[in-house]
Assembly symmetry: C2
Homo-oligomer: 329 residues x 2
């Protein structure tokens, strides 16, 4: 496959009418407290304000808009830890299609309830994303359904619209920090940022307790590592093959942060923005705190990719003895 | 003063270019879990997604856009429990003006930090909103500044834009539920709703622990009642005179809910929407739960006016023995 066939800025621009038929652009807010904390000018891109509380829905509504009549009639099959599934469920409902979503057995109850509330059929299949994916591939083949891959081109085109919103609203952005699971968000943001201004730094982050994609990026070849992170949306152990060359091409850096740093970032975001971030959505702040020296004085955008933290986890976080004041000190 | 001189739908439409110069329309999302809970079709209007985390900023940016050169140069003075002040601070910063905001001594630290982060001068004056207001009036007079009243016409014009967004996005809305402190939001929403479709029910809610505005509405004359609510934005003890006749004119009902019901609603909103609501922003859900029978099957919009709950209060709420599951049963 040549570069010409791969998603381009043009594809992302073309996705906009389909995305904005159902979704509004999300806010990009500057936070003065976070800026002081990091020693940079810090904005948060609020993808947590989208329906389903995560950026994934952008890709889903674009994909569904492009399906053939046959694909629409056959129903959608996909696998997800939750946010991609909520996006597909939202898009399927908007277009009146059936959607079947396979999730790992430990999937977030809130995300599962969100998918079912939107009318999707949710099935629990195996211990992790990979086992759920295997089932979805088989079920789509057996039932003649349309398998939706979380990293297929039409998804990337839709997801890229958030990067475009960032650069249009803040052309002077120096660095964008995104969490990585499949790599769809980082890939799409890379297309936009590097095509428009190659000097924009694109930094990815993953949990040190689920580092498969980061290790793969460093090694330049697939590295499988067991995932044990508290950030359910980052629970990837087998690296996604399709996004690999593009993460190599577009990322300026790819850092790991410990789950503890991610949880501290959830609390800091709650304190400073009054937004609930899930682990993946808070990871960019943890990365920015780690990279303080390099980011000093720059215009930095943290992508809050999702807000679907469970109330149980929030309760546990708030009950921990370490106060937010202490982590701020 | 005649009705002709009072804010109209035309004024609110005219405020839109000024409001949308700095702000984006907020999302109106349907929540299936909340809908089941109430037995109605329930949408939440996410005013908590605005800068400063509350609807007040809509009025502030419209007001500041209309100031004379003399008023701009003289600086702004106002009193606030927090959200109005954050709105004024945002608008003043956007236009490069000085703003001095008097707050009660117990004002929310997060809201105070928000105002200061935006460059406003914050002074603590007395035990409540009324004492802060008294100081602001005197200081504006002594220093030749522009006093900003939280219920003046230019504020109402800007605030009304959220009501217009609701009706444009959901023309089939049957009922809108708004919390009341000064009454600016309820007044502005009344202008929009009742001018466009008088059959839209407009329901106001206040804490039973701070019922001055509700008692005033029922009695048809000012009733002062001490305020002891956990919802700081609802802490009004002396009723606002200017909004009184319009609340009489526009409200179909005005209900009281206990602080305990408000706090349960904060947790329900966290569970179902993954948004953090402050007490005022959660009060409409508490009201809807109280009015279940009357709302059955209707299209109901809950206005989440603000999201500035302190992390300390959230921690206390989550540590309480009553589980969310129990309140849902």
């Amino acid at each position: 496959m040549t570069d010409q066939e791969m998603p381009t800025l043009h594809d992302i621009i073309a996705a906009r009418p389909h995305v904005y038929r159902y979704l509004k652009p999300t806010p990009l807010y500057r936070y003065f407290g976070l800026s002081e904390l990091i020693g940079a000018n810090v904005w948060v891109k609020h993808e947590n304000h989208l329906p389903g509380g995560a950026y994934k829905v952008r890709g889903a509504v674009n994909l569904v808009a492009h399906l053939s009549r046959k694909e629409r009639d056959s129903g959608l099959f996909t696998a997800s830890t939750g946010n991609h599934g909520q996006g597909i469920a939202f898009a399927a409902r908007a277009h009146g299609l059936r959607a079947t979503i396979a999730v790992p057995e430990g999937a977030s109850p809130g995300k599962v309830a969100g998918m079912r509330g939107l009318g999707a059929e949710v099935v629990f299949r195996g211990p992790n994303y990979e086992s759920a994916l295997e089932w979805a591939i088989g079920a789509a083949a057996a039932q003649g359904g349309r398998l939706v891959d979380a990293t297929e081109d039409l998804i990337i085109h839709g997801v890229g619209t958030y990067g475009l919103e960032i650069i249009e609203e803040l052309p002077e952005v120096d660095a964008i920090i995104v969490p990585v699971a499949s790599g769809s968000g980082a890939w799409a943001t890379g297309i936009v940022a590097k095509t428009i201004n190659p000097r924009i730094q694109l930094i990815a982050v993953q949990s040190a307790q689920a580092p498969a994609m980061q290790r793969t990026w460093v090694a330049g070849k697939p590295v499988t590592v067991a995932a044990h992170t508290v950030a359910d949306a980052l629970g990837v152990s087998v690296p996604f093959e399709k996004t690999r060359p593009f993460l190599r091409k577009y990322l300026d850096d790819f850092v790991l942060v410990d789950d503890g740093a991610i949880e501290a970032a959830v609390l800091l975001l709650l304190e400073h923005t009054h937004n609930l971030a899930e682990g993946a959505g808070a990871a960019p702040l943890a990365a920015a705190l780690k990279l303080r020296d390099r980011l000093a004085g720059k215009n930095v955008v943290l992508v809050m990719t999702g807000g679907n933290l469970s109330i149980d986890r929030l309760r546990k976080l708030l009950a921990q003895p370490v106060s937010v004041a202490a982590t701020q000190g």
